[in-house]
């Protein structure tokens, strides 16, 4: 038990160091600690499950130890930026003001091809459009284009917009969402009226119906069962 406890902590620390050395590109979308805990826990939990001769405690102790370490380290990284830098690393600027920082590319072991793959994933085919490209601590690439190439927004065009809020579903698969109807300030008679207008006699005939604050309705009737 004690040996499992200490071994878990040693392996946990070793994996954090390994992940940091391996670099951000190995991480996917998880922070190093999250990835380590996810990988280790699944392995640790499966061991006593597969071998009935291994007491459950050999799985419980390391899993709980990892969980506690993860909670504590997450708290420390939240409170102390220095600890966060040590454990999660720092974002790396791969393109700064349009200039590719080759030393950072080398440090993160990212080839120009891989950078292009990432940019294409963000629908950018011309690297000249990129002002900043930052490799985040979870391994994702954030891209900021030059203002000339940024997508136009209604504000840029001087067009006034109206915020209709997020539409709320009032009927899902024939079930009435009374709370959402209440939040929209509508009542059942209003709903029945709207249903009639769209050729539905009952709530159960509707597959989905959503309404936003401006009263715009999305409506889809249920398919008849064959």
């Amino acid at each position: 038990m004690g040996v499992s406890f200490i071994r878990t902590i040693i392996i946990f620390i070793l994996l954090i160091v390994s992940m940091r050395i391996m670099g951000k590109r190995q991480l996917g979308e998880l922070e190093p600690i999250e990835l380590i805990v996810a990988v280790l826990i699944s392995n640790l939990a499966s061991q006593p499950l597969q071998d009935v001769g291994t007491p459950l405690i050999y799985g419980i102790v390391p899993v709980l130890t990892l969980l506690c370490c993860q909670v504590l380290i997450s708290y420390l990284t939240l409170k102390r930026s220095r600890i966060r830098q040590i454990i999660c690393g720092r974002p790396s600027i791969l393109i700064d003001n349009g200039k590719i920082i080759q030393s950072e590319m080398r440090r993160n072991r990212i080839s120009i091809d891989e950078l292009y793959v990432e940019l294409r994933g963000k629908e950018i085919t011309d690297i000249a459009k990129v002002k900043h490209a930052i490799l985040e601590t979870n391994g994702t690439l954030s891209v900021i284009t030059y203002p000339d190439f940024a997508p136009l927004s209604p504000k840029d065009m001087g067009i006034a917009t109206q915020d209709n809020g997020s539409p709320l579903c009032v009927i899902i698969d024939g079930r009435l969402m009374s709370e959402n109807l209440l939040l929209l300030g509508k009542d059942r008679s209003w709903l029945m009226n709207e249903l009639k207008k769209r050729g539905a006699g009952r709530v159960s005939d509707v597959y989905i119906m959503s309404v936003d604050k401006a009263g715009n309705i999305y409506f889809s009737i249920k398919d008849r069962k064959k």
């Binding site: 038990m1 004690g2 040996v3 499992s4 406890f5 200490i6 071994r7 040693i10 009935v52 001769g53 291994t54 007491p55 459950l56 405690i57 050999y58 102790v61 709980l64 130890t65 969980l67 506690c68 370490c69 909670v71 504590l72 708290y75």
Partner: protein, 126 residues
Amino acid sequence: MKKEIFALALLILIFAVSMINAWYLGSLADEITVLVEDSAYLASAGQWDQALNQAKAAADLWRSHDPYTHIVLRHSDIEAMTDDFYELLEHISSKDPGAAESSASLVAEHIESISEMERLRPGSIF
């Protein structure tokens, strides 16, 4: 913050329980070793009845801890220990001094190695 305090408390608790477990297993191993060594000494002196009693006492002590050992030890280790005890009892019953002595030292070594594995030492950790 409550979650973090709970995590820290749980970590300390796991460590404390691990230490208590190592100590408890160590004292159980010591008790069994004393009884087994006694049995081997009595067997070498030709006092076979007393030797058998001491060996049985050691085996009973081991068996009485079944619920505990099945929770904290690998079942293969428990079975190997039980087999060693049967062998010791058999050799004492057949009044074979050499075999009884080697079986006794096997039991003592085995239990010592099981308890050693739970002690926090570089050898057991790495």
